[in-house]
């Protein structure tokens, strides 16, 4: 009886026209997936592989996706995990304890005379962000480019909200500091 009446607790849409629904809900975020993968792996080919892998994974586990939830955040979490796995496999992942979350964020706030906004350009910013530790890069991309809320970022990265906040402000200040150093050195 139970088998006859009850379906597995999966959303109805997964069974009916699964692929169409998947393409409609998840596929629009291929760019977001690629952008994140590109920033995290820093390589075009890696990013492409990761996006393909992530979308296949997403398709396979689409049953766990709750309708009404943010498909972009859901996909980005998968992308991020794929990136982590790949970097780990390649031995490229920086150790997680590299960042000391307890030290207060410093940086430009304390020496604002180094601010050189007019010298900032896309090339510099891109290089500086790519040189940041992975933990900073992921919060920065999710916040500045995807404009996700702290809460959504916390869910994607599976870290507490407070950590998102501190990583983001540390990451930004670290980035600002590096930019200023680069610009100052260029002037010498």
């Amino acid at each position: 009886m139970s088998e006859k009446v009850w379906n597995k607790p999966t959303p109805e849409h997964v069974r009916k026209g699964e692929r169409e629904v998947f393409e409609r809900t998840v596929l629009p975020y291929v760019n977001a997936a690629y952008n994140l993968a590109r920033w995290l792996t820093r390589r075009e080919e890696d990013a492409e592989d990761i996006v393909q892998e992530s979308l296949l994974r997403a398709m396979r586990s689409f049953g766990t996706f709750i309708p009404g939830r943010d498909a972009r955040a859901w996909l980005l979490a998968i992308v991020r995990n794929c990136c982590r796995t790949r970097l780990r496999r390649k031995g490229l992942e920086e150790p997680a304890d590299q960042l000391d979350e307890t030290v207060p964020a410093t940086g430009l706030w304390s020496n604002p005379e180094t601010v050189l906004i007019e010298n900032i350009n896309s090339q510099l910013v891109r290089r500086a962000v790519e040189e940041l530790p992975l933990e900073y890069r992921e919060v920065l991309v999710l916040r500045e480019l995807e404009e996700l809320s702290y809460k959504e970022i916390a869910q994607i990265l599976d870290i507490p909200l407070g950590t998102v906040m501190s990583r983001l402000s540390r990451g930004r200040r670290e980035l600002h500091g590096r930019l200023c150093n680069v610009i100052q050195e260029g002037r010498k």
Binding site: N7, P9, T10, P11, Y34, Q52, P67, L168
Partner: protein
């Protein structure tokens, strides 16, 4: 707020992630403290400038195409080489469009409306608990609750006394879901309220599907032309039990009896009339009691389902 705290909440303030009170404190401090204000403005401008210079990498076209192929999408790959081929492709896609267009469209529409309804149902449930507006008609008597809906809805919702099964009726409420007025019946299991939303459905019956949304268990389906959505913080098994008791206990009987179906909803009445169903008495009010069911003949309770 001190100068140190300003530094700490700077980013949260810029990202509009501070709560209202803290944001006000933040602004008040900036008004009072010149040093912080200058530093804040500089940081804000720098941050904005960095943000605008941060490139967003677009996925290459080739990648998107590869993914579509991978997912088995029906997108055309490559150019047909001859005009004949091209004509054939056009003709074929026209035929396919005509043949499957409607089907695809319908199957594509359904989930999105399911998602939408799911969200509304969960919100309604939460609101009913939050605003202390669980019921409009508080009564454990189905014969009080049912007539209360007269004149408020364009259908008579089925109501069952499930207190023997351990789901006492608390009352009923008018609610608004999927752009229509619906009946919300409230039952209880121990301390867990269950909202059961009901409205007429023109679709054929569909098996119950279980979802978990924002921590609430939701079961929905269509039975005897009534769309139902049950939601509660109750565990999944007991909610399933509830739906089972409400709808499926007398499934066999309702399937056999044309009379029963014609009485349940306006829609079924209409459908039966169109079919020229001999059992259908067109003059019968759709508001007849929905449950001419004999308790003694109830089917044995189903085994609890594996979640």
């Amino acid at each position: 707020m001190s100068c140190d705290r300003i530094q700490d909440s700077l980013d949260a303030y810029l990202d509009r992630e501070l709560d209202v009170l803290s944001a006000r404190d933040f602004e008040r401090h900036l008004n009072d403290c010149d040093a912080c204000r200058v530093a804040f403005e500089r940081y804000r401008d720098l941050q904005a400038s960095v943000k605008t210079q941060l490139p967003y990498f677009q996925a290459p076209e080739s990648l998107v195409r590869k993914i579509r192929t991978q997912l088995g999408s029906s997108e055309r790959r490559g150019e047909p080489s001859t005009i004949a081929w091209r004509a054939w492709a056009v003709a074929a896609s026209l035929v396919i469009c005509l043949a499957f267009g409607t089907l695809l469209f319908r199957s594509a529409l359904r989930p999105s409306s399911t998602e939408l309804i799911a969200d509304q149902v969960v919100s309604s449930h939460i609101r009913s608990l939050m605003a202390n507006h669980l019921v409009d008609v508080p009564s454990s008597d189905q014969h009080t609750v049912k007539p209360w809906f007269n004149g408020k809805l364009d259908f008579a919702p089925p109501i069952r006394d499930l207190s023997p099964e351990g789901f006492p009726l608390i009352g009923g409420r008018l609610d608004y879901v999927d752009a229509r007025a619906v009946a919300a019946l409230v039952y209880k299991r121990r301390q867990h309220p269950i909202n059961l939303f009901l409205w007429p459905a023109s679709d054929v019956d569909s098996k119950p599907s279980a979802l978990v949304i924002r921590g609430y268990h939701v079961i929905h389906g269509i039975q005897s032309h009534t769309a139902y959505w049950a939601i509660s913080d109750l565990n999944a098994d007991e909610l399933k039990q509830f739906v089972q008791d409400f709808f499926y206990q007398s499934r066999e009987r309702s399937d056999r009896s044309a009379d029963y179906t014609t009485r349940t909803t306006v829609h079924s009445n209409f459908i039966a009339a169109k079919r020229g169903n001999a059992h259908n008495h067109g003059s019968q009010s759709p508001q007849m009691p929905v449950r001419p069911l004999i308790r003694e003949s109830r089917l044995p309770l189903p085994a609890p389902c594996a979640a």
